[in-house]
């Protein structure tokens, strides 16, 4: 089981692929998402979204303003501005 993660910015798709784990900061605090997570729609508080890919690589995406949705192991990170940064 792996998460299907997509990161999109307002004017383009940034990254999509398989991941083992996603950690994001929402307005309520840090949230870690593993496969099998309940469906969630959360506001991203800005800052970094950390993704551990299926190969065990660590990716960091800077996401400013937006939201995060999880359902059936599909994770969407939707941000006004998003870019991958070197961890």
């Amino acid at each position: 089981m792996a998460l299907n993660v997509t990161v999109v910015a307002a004017d383009r798709g940034v990254w999509s692929g398989e991941a083992r784990r996603v950690i994001a900061r929402t307005t309520e605090g840090e949230m870690g998402i593993l496969p099998g997570h309940e469906p969630v729609l959360a506001i991203v508080a800005g800052g970094e979204v950390r993704i551990v890919t299926a190969d065990g690589e660590h990716l960091t995406a800077r996401a400013d303003g937006g939201f995060l949705s999880v359902e059936n192991d599909r994770v969407m990170v939707v941000a006004d501005q998003a870019e991958l940064v070197d961890a």
Binding site: T6, V8, A9, A10, D11, R12, G13, T26, T27, E28, M31, E38, P39, V40, L41, A42, I43, G65, G66, F67, S69, E71, N72, M76, V78, D80
Partner: protein, 316 residues
């Protein structure tokens, strides 16, 4: 060279240099269509995700939001006209303005005030020339709109929407823009942006109407949504999502308009090149006729002169 010939030569030369300009503009527009279309496509995942999320919140919670509820009485409507910054695009600007004027007429007939907002120099000058009041106009990005432009427009509109009627606020907002259909066809149209239209989905729940023609959703919007957990709460999520949703709708319209503008320009310039070719051909024919006439006249004069000389020589 005779005077007539010189006139035609000058016309041919100037038409030729104009033709070069038209041809260059045609090629530039043709290459920009592709770029504009790919930007429309690139923005669609974001729009799709937003539509889906807004639909999910609207379906699963009974949160009332000012942006989705129909006001009791609509007294003033805002009309945003998305036009081009420069011409050389045939009837493109005229068509979208005509569409907007039709909408303005309809709104006036139903007793509403109209507040005008314009994007692009052509729409602005159309209204300023006619002394019509423009609430706000934006120029300089009709060919390459960015999300920042859309956000700026969105903020202004939401601000006007949140004001009371007495303070010059508006109760509903329309967008008049040109939808890009293909490289040879485009269609001006208007859509209401706010309040978001809510339609009944097949499962009986109400979802904001998806604008499938502006984007290609990769999923069925009518499908049943999973029971989301909202964080921090449904109302806050909706609060954060709706302005973004509106910005993304504006961006989609702007991108469509820019693609349409480029395709209109390419077509107009293509026609201009054809016309220039036609003119060059006509003027070349006329110049040839003039040259031939001149030669004929010269021969006639020489022959006439020789005849006269011969006649006078014979008389000796």
């Amino acid at each position: 060279m005779g005077a007539q010939q010189r006139v035609f030569k000058a016309k041919i030369n100037s038409t030729k240099s104009l033709r070069k300009i038209f041809k260059a503009m045609e090629l530039i527009a043709a290459s920009r269509i592709q770029k504009a279309v790919s930007r429309v496509k690139a923005a669609s995942p974001y729009a799709t995700a937003l539509t889906r999320a807004v639909s999910a919140v609207a379906t699963q919670s009974n949160v009332e939001h000012t942006l989705t509820t129909e006001p009791e009485q609509i007294r003033r409507s805002a009309v945003v006209v998305l036009g081009p910054d420069r011409g050389f695009a045939g009837a493109y600007a005229a068509n979208v303005i005509r569409e907007a004027e039709e909408l303005v007429g309809l709104l006036r007939d139903s007793g509403k005030d109209v507040a005008l907002y314009t994007v692009g120099g052509k729409a602005e000058s159309y209204y300023t020339f006619r002394d019509r009041k423009i609430e706000r106009s934006w120029t300089g990005f009709s060919e390459a709109p960015s999300i920042e432009n859309a956000r700026e427009i969105g903020e202004t509109l939401l601000e006007a929407f949140s004001r009371d009627y007495e303070d010059g606020g508006v109760d509903e907002i329309y967008l008049a823009y040109t939808r890009y259909k293909s490289a040879v066809s485009r269609e001006p149209e208007y859509r209401r942006l706010i309040p978001l239209e809510v339609v009944e989905a097949e499962d009986g729940s109400s979802i904001p109407q998806p604008r499938t023609e502006l984007r290609q959703p990769s999923f069925d919007v009518d499908q049943v949504f999973p029971l989301y957990e909202f964080e921090p709460g449904a109302a806050e999520v909706l609060d954060a999502l709706l302005p973004r949703y509106i910005d993304s709708r504006i961006l989609a319209a702007l991108l469509n308009a820019s693609a349409a503008e480029q395709s209109a320009r390419q077509q107009a310039m293509n026609t201009a090149v054809d016309n220039a070719d036609e003119l060059i051909k006509t003027y070349t024919r006329l110049a040839n006729t003039a040259r031939q006439a001149e030669i004929t006249q010269e021969i006639t004069e020489i022959v006439g002169g020789a005849d006269a000389l011969a006649a006078s020589g014979a008389g000796d």
